[in-house]
């Protein structure tokens, strides 16, 4: 197994799948400012996807492009964590997911800036600037809605309860992670846990929300072993053009 390729797919697919889910809000967000914010966040994530999958394609060396990887792979070839592929549901759950991901992504990309692989370090250095203001916004929104009205608090608590069992997959570890650590390309994701806990619990307490008391974590996304039934539906929409008209370009 080409561990670097696997690692890059995980980075790229996380950005791609969350980017696509986020783009589903375009034109239907609850306020104009939020619509613009969601569309811009999606754009940043798709931009980061191009960098990660572009490098993945190069590392694979099979003549595939970033576009081929995004549009012509099927469900079990995707390596994103499950949390990012589940449907958006309401605005609160969308922003709670963004927050739980951003709280991981900021320390993670910061660590990758020091990767022994300069290409990985370059992509991380570019992406962490964007992840930082994504986290500013998602944390602010979690606080505003959590510590808002009775209705918004209840919805944010429900969102957190729903997403919590998915968050643990961010810290998964397998032989790809160990290979990356050995080569100094990336630290083990589990080493982000303290930073993540601090950000998440600090924000949740300001937001008047309670983290569920459970360490159970779904898994299967980052290895591709078991995705949820939702990813296939998402890909059907996302990939329809390239599947129907292979090679179509703007």
């Amino acid at each position: 197994m080409n561990h670097l390729f696997e690692f890059l797919l995980r980075q790229g697919d996380n950005a791609l799948v969350l980017g696509h889910r986020t783009s589903e809000w375009c034109g239907v967000a609850p306020a104009l400012e939020e619509d613009i914010a969601l569309a811009n966040t999606a754009l940043d994530l798709i931009g980061q996807t191009q960098l990660w999958l572009g490098y993945a394609a190069e590392v694979e060396g099979q003549g595939r492009s970033a576009n081929d990887l995004a549009y012509l792979r099927d469900v079990y070839d995707f390596r994103n964590v499950l949390m990012l592929e589940v449907p958006n549901a309401d605005f609160g759950r969308t922003l709670m997911r963004q927050f739980l991901f951003d709280a991981f992504q900021v320390p993670w990309l910061t660590a990758l800036c020091g990767s022994s692989d300069t290409h990985v370090a370059d992509i991380a250095t570019k992406s962490v600037k964007e992840a930082t203001y994504h986290l500013d916004r998602s944390a602010d929104t979690v606080i505003a809605l959590g510590d808002g009205t009775e209705e918004s608090n209840a919805r944010m608590q429900a969102a957190l309860d729903h997403l919590w069992p998915y968050a643990g997959e961010l810290f998964g570890e397998d032989e790809t992670d160990q290979a990356m650590q050995k080569k100094g390309i990336a630290p083990l994701p589990a080493s982000m846990r303290n930073d993540w806990d601090r950000t998440v619990h600090g924000t949740l307490s300001e937001a008047a929300l309670r983290a569920p008391d459970s360490a159970f974590a779904h898994s299967g996304g980052r290895s591709g072993f078991r995705h949820t039934e939702h990813l296939g539906h998402m890909l059907a929409t996302m990939q329809t053009l390239q599947r129907s008209y292979p090679g179509a370009a703007w």
């Binding site: 400012e33 613009i36 798709i46 931009g47 960098l51 370090a121 570019k126 964007e130």
Partner: protein
């Protein structure tokens, strides 16, 4: 359209000064800091550009505009290279670019993380509406004195 036998790098930089940013046409791609290098070898010109934000959709247009502008000046062969490191920063905006942004109504980026003043009435009483704006590089702010909303060029 006559190919100049001796194109100099300074000449190419000058030509690029006239290529406007497609989203903010009052500043050039050079003022914006996306042109990182120019190298000339005989008749062939290589221009290195870097994206502002990784998903900035203007990059494709910028690349096309640079090729078109250089072709107009008779450069027979233009090679465009994209690099992401070092990552673009608002520090690379030229002073001329910053001044033009403000007179166009866009507050230039400040290290403090927010605009120094309203680009319309120059009041310092400003507040943020949203971290995101009409393009990835901008945020929405408003002036609480003249009540005008305005774009702020985000600092990254």
């Amino acid at each position: 359209m006559t190919a100049s036998p001796h194109i100099s790098e300074a000449q190419v930089w000058n030509w690029l000064e006239d290529v406007p940013d497609p989203e903010i046409p009052v500043i050039s791609v050079v003022d914006l800091g996306v042109v990182r290098a120019v190298s000339v070898s005989g008749d062939a010109v290589e221009v290195t550009i870097t994206p502002t934000y990784s998903g900035c959709p203007a990059m494709a247009v910028i690349a096309m505009d640079i090729e078109t502008a250089l072709a107009k000046h008779g450069v027979p062969s233009v090679q465009l290279k994209t690099q992401i490191a070092p990552a673009w920063t608002t520090d690379w905006l030229s002073d001329k670019g910053r001044a033009r942004l403000e007179s166009y109504g866009i507050a230039p980026p400040q290290a403090a993380g927010g605009p120094a003043r309203c680009p319309q009435c120059k009041s310092t009483a400003v507040e943020r509406v949203s971290q995101f704006g009409s393009t990835p590089c901008k945020a929405q702010w408003r002036c609480t004195d003249c009540l005008e909303p305005f774009d702020y060029f985000k600092c990254i």
